[in-house]
Symmetry: C2
Subunit: 216 residues, 2 copies
DNA sequence: CCTACCGATCGGTAGG
DNA sequence: CCTACCGATCGGTAGG
């Protein structure tokens, strides 16, 4: 990156980033529909039409918000695993990072995608499609590592990588759900126990050697 | 019930029931907040204020809608299990019925409670509290049967009934989630396989004899 | 980025 | 149950 490339960052882009970042945190708590352009403008100290001009429609604002959340999700959960050897170890790391993302409240309203997926799952359109794309990417990442684990002989015979990922992902979603609505003590503990025992049950001897004992 | 007791059913109650029933199906798709009194009145062919008079506030309408959904949930899932012997068999039947409730679209938007729980989990108030009560009742029912199974020697030593219910409930929620957003083929199949193998792994010899082989 | 404005719809009320 | 209405807010536009 050259010293002058920063010139390309117009002030408009910075403002847009500020808007989207604020919208992302708000949407994790109250949903993408409760994102009112007027309220957003008031809280950011700008005029409604000034904010609106950055997007052109509420739908565009919602999609930009989803894309920003996807990047935040990637930084919190995926990025640190990319240098690990692929397979069972990376799969376990992704799940551990997801639970950390819940515990650390990376979004103030819990998992952004769980929240907006439930909100839009019955409303066809571009917003729903963009959310579904994010969810498929995440599931694909988990399934890819489970499949590599399978190919590397890290899973016991007869273990279906897709079925395994269904079960592991179920535990992470249930943790988010219980944490948000029921505010249980140590609810992520249930998820950690479930994930650890599912991974141990699925691992071959070669696989067991790469599992972190203390982690989820 | 005497032949004249029906006189107590005022016409107002019938209208109220019609409203709540319609609201319940609408809310399973678009949420309890999108329940607009004006739209609801239009679709039911009555005036806004006429409909409003039955509840006095939108919050009361939302709570009445949750209570109606709880009854529908009970009829679809719980009622038929009450005459079964308690323990592992009833636990399995409740889970099987839940998956049937998804497959049969008892609510047009999937599981009513999963939808509204995600919507209100970050909005303190009476609506959220009523949703949380429903969820705790349902979880309590599952934990009760798992505990009875434990006491009856239907579970293997070392199996924690609460942990077991966490895992089983996770599979049912994941099925609802995938079914709504990702519209996967045979997604309840993953849940059925997961539930069956979790129950089999948790069951003692005595427990295994009460499990239905074909069921979830 | 702004002010000023549009029609539509919101929850809720007055009065019958 | 109704008509008629309230103030507030919605997404979006005109014009600068």
């Amino acid at each position: 990156m050259s010293a002058t490339s920063g010139v390309r960052s117009h002030q408009g882009e910075n403002t847009r980033n500020r808007i989207v970042h604020f919208a992302m945190n708000l949407a994790s708590r109250h949903g993408l529909d409760a994102l009112s352009i007027g309220e957003l403008a008031k809280e950011l100290g700008m005029s409604k039409s000034g904010l609106f001009a950055h997007f052109g429609s509420k739908e565009e604002l919602q999609i930009a918000t989803i894309e920003a959340a996807e990047e935040t999700f990637g930084c919190a959960i995926i990025e640190s695993t990319l240098e690990m050897p692929e397979g069972l170890g990376q799969l376990q790391a992704l799940l551990t990072n997801y639970l950390g993302y819940l515990e650390n409240s990376v979004f103030p309203g819990g998992c952004f995608f769980a929240a907006v997926a439930a909100e839009f799952d019955d409303r066809p359109g571009r917003v729903r499609d963009r959310i579904a794309l994010s969810m498929r990417k995440w599931r694909g990442l988990l399934e890819r590592q489970a499949t590599i684990a399978h190919q590397n002989g890290q899973l016991r015979e007869g273990v279906d990588p897709v079925q395994l990922v269904f079960e592991l992902k179920a535990f992470t979603h249930e943790a988010n759900f219980n944490l948000r609505l029921l505010e249980d003590q140590g609810v992520t503990q249930h998820a950690k126990v479930a994930i650890r025992s599912a991974l141990k049950a699925a691992a071959s001897e070669a696989g067991a050697s790469v599992l972190q004992v203390g982690a989820g």
